[in-house]
């Protein structure tokens, strides 16, 4: 037997390790079960699917987390040096096969399960009759454009962009389709109707995020990116920018107002009347 280091044989480090790991596991489980800081309730059907997938992932990873951390703590305690001889084992082929296969099945299985919710958001086109709203990010505000009564978006000419003269999007004044376009600093949507947001950016990459929708999408200069959903709950929700876009990134903020059909029509009519003036 070789000579022992002076720190061998003490149980204190093992006990401390067990305490820290137990605190870690306990507090993590607590904050997840108590949902102390948590997602707000989802307001879209796909949001509920996403929450379901999160729950499944949480259960699976939670079990692995608890077992792995406790196994570590237990081994460190049980096999601390108290004069025993270490077991000379090079490995175990069957164990390697088992835990490799199990991990592969579980991990890929979760991914395949999640694909459905992802497809709901991105693989299909919009439902027929979807309300189209164009979302434009620019340092550091959001602009939302509705097609107006003619149902058509007017042409945009970048060199005409001038927020100070009331044309933040650069609508072409010579295009008749742009005359009735409604431009708003907040997003108004009717409840229970299919929506198609067309996401754009004028300058740098921004990202449109509303927690309750469970939707986040980067807005990329040069691209128009569609996002489809319908909202099931009336209310006011915050829109934040989620991709670093410069010094005002933290206050690039707008509101999503989800209204009843009647209230939404009223809002639309008010905007159209203001446009006509």
């Amino acid at each position: 037997m070789g000579s022992r280091k002076s720190c061998a044989g003490s149980a204190a480090p093992a006990v401390l390790m067990a305490i820290v790991i137990l605190l870690l596991v306990g507090s993590t489980l607590y904050f997840h079960i108590a949902k102390t800081w948590w997602f707000p309730p989802a307001i879209t059907p796909v949001g509920h699917q996403i929450d379901q997938q999160f729950f499944v992932t949480f259960i699976v990873t939670g079990i692995v987390f608890v077992l792995a951390q406790l196994a570590l703590a237990w081994m460190v305690f049980k096999y601390r040096d108290h004069g025993q001889k270490a077991r000379f084992v090079r490995g175990n082929h069957m164990l390697e096969v088992i835990w490799t296969t199990a991990t592969l099945v579980i991990f890929v299985g979760l991914g395949v399960m999640a694909a459905h919710a992802w497809g709901e958001v991105h693989f299909g086109g919009p439902a027929p009759g979807a309300l189209q709203v164009e979302v434009t990010g620019v340092q550091f505000v959001w602009n939302f454009r509705y097609p107006g009564p003619d149902g058509k978006f007017g042409r945009i000419i970048p060199k005409d962009i001038d927020a100070s003269t009331g044309n933040p999007l650069g609508l072409d004044p010579n295009d008749p389709a742009s005359k009735d376009d409604i431009v708003s600093g907040d997003l108004y949507l009717p409840v229970n109707r299919p929506i198609e947001l067309m996401l754009r950016s004028q300058d740098v990459i921004h990202s449109f995020f509303v927690r309750e929708l469970r939707i986040k999408q980067d807005t990329v200069p040069g691209l128009v990116i569609p996002v489809h959903f319908s909202v099931t709950k009336i209310g006011d929700y915050e829109i934040t920018c989620n991709q670093l876009c410069g010094l005002g990134h933290y206050h690039m903020h707008a509101m999503l107002h989800v209204l009843s059909d009647a209230d939404f029509q009223q809002w639309e009519q008010k905007q159209e009347a203001q446009n006509a003036q």
Binding site: M17, G91, Q202, D203
Partner: protein, 583 residues
């Protein structure tokens, strides 16, 4: 192999202070230089993170060094950009690989030095210049860049109209990283050539320590990945300085200025950056995984459980690392079908990492664990790696990433799995190899205090960030005063900040221990840990050509601990079979 190596390399150290210490060709000095460079970078990086945490938790507190003491939004972004850049490149990419790898790879394979000593010296000094260029960007007009360590275009491409710091500051950032790429490519060639060609007699691939495997696969990744980042940096510079449009589309209107660019794609920058960026995070962690296997085995007095599986999993991680970059881009506007493909591959790359974790646990099973400071950090690594790795399972699914992307959940994830885990590996490496580097022992009591404060501290800092992510707290926000749903998170911010201050202070134990022990530590014997690999068979201090002309022959694998029938609980790799004492 080794016979001509000794003929090529003169066995005496060069005279003259400049040749000996500054422009040394000796891999041990160069490794030390890299470690000291990394130590300076991490010191600045930690100070920057403390500034961040003071500002976030107590926004009105005045901080010395800022105009009127106030951290403006652009100052905050400068701080996070510099923090990320320094930490990822100049700490995590240099110390585990170019620091400890340079020092110990040649010795562990029985070679007198790296294959290309002059190239080695050049790699260090170019890295050094790169860091000077980066730090100098803080002092130029406009200040340093504000676009994050990821430097997304067009924010990073269009110049100062996009924001303060995006002028000369951003250009210097790009130049610094481009230089770093060049140095890394040189270093990768060196590591690969050395490992392939300079192994001593009897050291087959499957007898190499897992540290050597870690460095070897990391160097392969670096060779393939850094070229892409270098190209991306050159394209970005051209967009900025030569009116090209690789990353800038037409119709760009920035701050009232209509740009004359046309035809570029901002997504192209992301593809190029992350094609490098994902292998990069494995470059940061693979040497650490090798070191942890090595340290766990030594202080468990057992072979690494599943050595072959460990080699295959390191290789699988390396290979797959080039196929998962899109998981940084699920919501970037990239095709959602690509997103699905990247998602499955990302989940697959989790498997070899899980295999490694099972094998680390297997190494501890049936062990005889000695709780040295190095071992404590190795055990802590396993815990942190499990936690950080599992949060990756959420992020790998695009449906969940829809919510969690660019929130504090991601910050918690990558700090645990990349920052903390790799730092723990570096600490383990330091406590482990210090006796061989300096001929003295570090103080074990200070090491233990350092460990416990740090281990508890990092969990207190980074676990709550996952909860901030659930609440939808976006990254890179200079303040939470504009978003109503963030107000309730202020107490969590304060908790994290206090934990950060305590953890940062705990590192002072390490600094003191490290520098004090160089001169005043207890003198170390040649093999204080009774370990098996070749670095423990050479005297301390290590001779200039490592083996004083007598290159070893290797007779067995690297982890022959507690072998039944042997008198000692370890058998050195280079001990001839007839000289192994029987029980």
């Amino acid at each position: 192999m080794s016979s001509h190596a000794s003929a090529v390399h003169h066995s005496e150290a060069p005279k003259g202070w400049l040749r000996h210490y500054i422009f040394s060709l000796d891999h041990k000095i160069i490794g030390t230089q890299y470690i000291l460079l990394g130590l300076s970078a991490v010191t600045i990086g930690v100070i920057l993170s403390v500034i961040m945490r003071i500002h976030l938790a107590w926004p009105s507190v005045h901080i010395w060094g800022f105009a009127n003491g106030v951290v403006s939004p652009e100052d905050y972004l400068r701080v996070i950009t510099m923090h990320g850049t320094l930490m990822v490149f100049f700490v995590l990419t240099t110390v585990p690989q170019s620091g400890f790898g340079n020092y110990f790879l040649p010795i562990q394979i029985g070679a007198p030095d790296m294959a290309f000593p002059t190239l080695n010296m050049l790699s260090f000094w170019i890295t050094f210049v790169a860091m000077i260029v980066l730090v100098s960007s803080a002092f130029v007009p406009g200040g340093s860049a504000i676009s994050g360590w990821t430097s997304y275009a067009p924010l990073s491409a269009v110049g100062v109209i996009a924001g303060p710091g995006q002028g000369l500051g951003q250009t210097l950032w790009i130049v610094s990283i481009a230089l770093f790429c060049g140095a890394s490519l040189m270093s990768a060639i060196n590591f690969l050539g050395t490992t392939i060609d300079l192994r001593t007699t009897g050291l087959s691939l499957m007898r190499m320590p897992l540290t050597v495997w870690g460095w070897f696969i990391t160097a392969s990744l670096a060779l393939l990945a850094f070229g892409v980042l270098l190209a991306a940096c050159i394209l970005l510079l051209l967009d900025r300085l030569a009116m090209t449009s690789f990353f800038i589309p037409s119709g760009e209107m920035v701050s009232g200025v209509l740009l004359n660019h046309a035809g570029g794609s901002p997504l192209l920058w992301q593809h190029l950056f992350w094609f490098f960026g994902h292998p990069e995070v494995y470059i940061a962690i693979l040497p650490g995984m090798g070191i942890i296997s090595h340290v766990l085995s030594t202080f468990s007095r057992k072979p690494v459980f599943g050595y072959r599986a460990m080699v295959y999993s390191l290789s699988a991680i390396g290979f797959l690392s080039f196929m998962v970059w899109g998981h940084h881009m699920f919501i970037s506007g990239m095709s959602p079908y690509s997103g699905l493909a990247f998602s499955i591959l990302t989940l697959v790359i989790g498997v070899p990492s899980a295999i490694k974790t099972f094998n680390w646990l297997g190494t501890l099973w049936g062990a005889r664990i000695q709780f040295t400071a190095a071992m404590l950090f190795a055990i802590g690594f396993v815990s942190v790696f499990v936690t950080g790795g599992l949060s990756g399972i959420f992020l790998a699914q695009p449906a969940l990433d829809l919510y969690l992307h660019d929130t504090y959940y991601v910050i918690g994830h990558f700090h645990l799995i990349m920052g903390v885990a790799a730092i723990f590996a570096m600490f383990a490496a330091t406590y482990y190899w210090f006796p061989k580097m300096f001929g003295r022992m570090m103080n074990e009591t200070l090491g233990k205090i350092h460990f416990w404060m740090t281990f508890v501290g990092v969990y207190c800092i980074f676990m709550p960030m996952h909860y901030l992510g659930y609440a939808g707290d976006p990254r890179r926000y200079a303040s939470i005063e504009s978003v109503h749903y963030l107000f309730a998170l202020q107490p969590v911010y304060k908790f994290i900040s206090i934990a950060a201050f305590i953890t940062a202070t705990a590192q002072l134990f390490f600094y003191f221990n490290f520098f004090w022990s160089i001169k005043h530590g207890k003198p170390a014997e040649a093999n204080p840990w009774r370990a098996t690999t070749l670095e423990w068979s050479v005297p301390t201090p290590v001779p200039h050509d490592n083996f004083a002309g007598h290159y070893p022959t290797v007779y067995r694998g690297p982890y022959e601990y507690s072998v039944p029938g042997a008198a000692d609980d370890f058998i050195p790799q280079d001990l001839a079979p007839e000289r192994v004492a029987k029980a």
